[in-house]
């Protein structure tokens, strides 16, 4: 198909009830057993449920590719699920004293700040697009690993405290790019 034909073709409509979103939603099922494991002091079980939640995060993208059901809603749903699952698990770990509280507060606070900055950026560019941050992608992945270090009681202080300055640097960098720098593709 030529580029012109592709441009004129109607946009493919993808149902919200698709296999990829089902896999994404299934990640919430990991939360109750996770709380049960932490409440009982079962480090290995808690690590297993974090691992399953993380694997499902990888599988949903694969399923979307296989079933050709990628959508804007799916990407947003995936990002929201990431935030809820990781945020909830971090709060539980901090509440039970498995991880230091101050880095967890910093991580969640900076995460919320980053979401607010992204919302401002979307309004600034005036279209339903978002700022692609290669650094923040890596920080989000690190957050998932933080859960694993917390549940397995593996160098918890080292990993948690080093995470904070790294995330501060990335949020400051992304804030400048989203709020101050010129918008890519915009005419002066």
């Amino acid at each position: 198909m030529s580029a012109a034909a592709k441009a004129s073709a109607p946009e493919r409509v993808v149902s919200k009830l698709n296999p990829a979103n089902a896999v994404t939603a299934s990640r919430f099922l990991c939360l109750p057993p996770f709380v049960w494991a932490v409440d009982n002091g079962f480090h290995q079980w808690a690590t297993l449920f974090v691992l399953i939640c993380g694997l499902l995060d990888k599988v949903d993208g694969l399923v979307a590719k296989i079933f050709n059901c990628r959508s804007v809603f799916g990407e947003l749903f995936d990002a929201i699920t990431d935030g809820i699952c990781y945020g909830f698990c971090l709060i539980i770990l901090a509440a039970y004293g498995w991880v230091p509280v101050i880095p967890v507060i910093a991580v969640i606070g900076l995460g919320l700040l980053n979401s607010a900055l992204r919302a401002i950026y979307v309004k600034r560019v005036g279209r339903a697009t978002n700022y692609k941050s290669y650094a923040m992608e890596r920080i989000v992945a690190y957050t998932a690993y933080l859960l694993g270090f917390g549940t397995s009681n593996f160098e918890v202080d080292f990993y948690y405290w080093l995470f904070v300055p790294l995330m501060v640097v990335v949020v400051i960098h992304d804030a400048k790019r989203m709020l101050i720098d010129a918008i890519p593709g915009a005419t002066a």
Binding site: N40, G41, F42, H43, Q44, W45, T47, L48, K132, S133, Y134, A135, E137, R138, I139, A141, Y142, Y145, G148, F149, S152, F154, E155, F158, Y159, L162, F163, L166, V169, V170, H173, R177, D181, A182, P184
Partner: protein, 73 residues
């Protein structure tokens, strides 16, 4: 019901190996991507973002590897 899916030693080594392999791969992968970008236009915002992202990725990988070494040494 007990916590022991596997022995404590096996659990610690599983976490260590998992972390070391992922973090080590991450460190090398982002270092290579950063290296391949060295001749690209640094004033291009996208290239700048990629360079910054890969540098952060290298830091994350390095922290991962150092954590494993700190635990075992």
């Amino acid at each position: 019901m007990t916590d022991h899916l596997i022995s404590h030693t096996a659990f610690v080594w599983s976490v260590s190996l998992f972390t070391a392999i992922i973090a080590g791969t991450w460190l090398v992968y982002d270092a290579l991507k950063l290296f391949w970008l060295r001749k690209k236009d640094k004033s291009d915002p996208t290239i700048h973002d990629k360079r910054f992202g890969y540098s952060i990725g290298m830091c994350v990988g390095l922290i991962g590897v150092l954590g494993v070494l700190k635990y075992h040494l």
